[in-house]
Subunit: 210 residues, 2 copies
């Protein structure tokens, strides 16, 4: 094991440090967030700092970088209150990554990278047709994290679309079979292999596989 | 694709809903968080709702459930300001899961599940010796998420320990080779397989593998 103190990490070149610190916290649930402004212009951007907040009510949060680095998604969500989150699959990982390029104002990443906007159920923001797990969100709250000008954007689940075969009899979604990927650091993508599921843990019982 | 509205999801049995909603947001960076109270009693608990907040300063957050459901980690962190986060490997996934059992007051999960507390560098809280990626944190801020009584606990990185072979020349950590797992839903664990890394995306250039 190699040890690094925060003093050493702080002294590194910023790209080296960004690669290291972004990987250190582990794998991330990489998704495309679609949003639109009041004029109807869509935006599609890759996000991986997404976090489950609660099941009842069903809430999910994500970290939006500072406005100067990533202005569109947060501004659109503030304007319309609606967005969709779409899991990334290996088949379109390169296109998903490409959404992080700084396209000119007025461009839609859907068109630029070749992914298909899927409008359904009258929801104002499109889903990503190529994704096999898609969910629609309504903004609940934006919490400003003042130490580094990022934001925790918290939304309430409105609709979920999941590939039928991924849904198990207890409500669990077998995302490996749906092709959902994880990302790592700033630019790496991984597929997953099921290892185990365990029963609810009790202090007086050995851990039991299910 | 199967569609579920929030009205339908809200009406489900709570276990079915918890399985579904906890899986919907995707795979999670499963880790063991070690903490201790002022009397020196250690606690070890499995967490997966962990989110990268920034690289400079290096900050990581995690969601702590309501106090009545998960009182120890947050109370210890409030008391001492220090904790360690340790990636889970397949070799001890069952033991990591078992830390979620409600052990009596005064028990340490290290002992109960058979993992090894590793005190080093004079840091007040032990690391998990069996883990190949370990990092030490100092509390920065606890943000109360009032809609469901959870907390975003934000910490500043103090020390990192990583398996040498995982560190690449650009600072990236190849966590698949370090054996770091992901979790899904409430009780599932997965291993990962590298798929791709892509260069920084530019609008006028095709996506390029690195």
């Amino acid at each position: 094991m190699k040890h690094f103190s925060i003093e050493e990490i702080t002294g590194w070149d910023r790209f080296y440090r960004a690669n290291f610190v972004n990987s250190l916290s582990g794998f991330k649930p990489v998704s495309l967030i679609a949003s639109r402004n009041e004029a109807g212009q869509t935006n599609l951007a890759i996000f991986s700092n997404i976090v489950h907040i609660g099941a009842d009510p069903a809430m999910v949060g994500f970290i939006n970088r500072p406005r100067e680095a990533a202005p569109h998604t947060i501004a659109n969500i503030e304007a319309t209150g609606k967005y969709t989150i779409n899991h990334v699959r290996a088949e379109f990982a390169a296109q998903a990554h490409q959404t992080s390029a700084k396209y000119p104002e007025g461009a839609s990443e859907f068109e630029e990278v070749g992914l298909t906007p899927d409008y359904k159920l009258g929801f104002e923001v499109p889903f990503v047709k190529e994704s096999h797990v898609q969910y629609a969100m309504e903004l609940f709250e934006i919490i400003s994290l003042k130490m580094n000008n990022t934001f925790l954007v918290v939304g309430k689940l409105q609709h979920a679309f999941v590939e039928k075969a991924a849904l198990k009899e207890d409500g669990f979604l077998e995302l490996s079979s749906a092709g959902s990927m994880v990302s790592l650091g700033l630019d790496a993508y991984y597929e997953t292999i099921p290892h185990s599921r365990f029963a609810y843990a009790k202090p007086d019982q050995p851990t039991r596989s299910i």
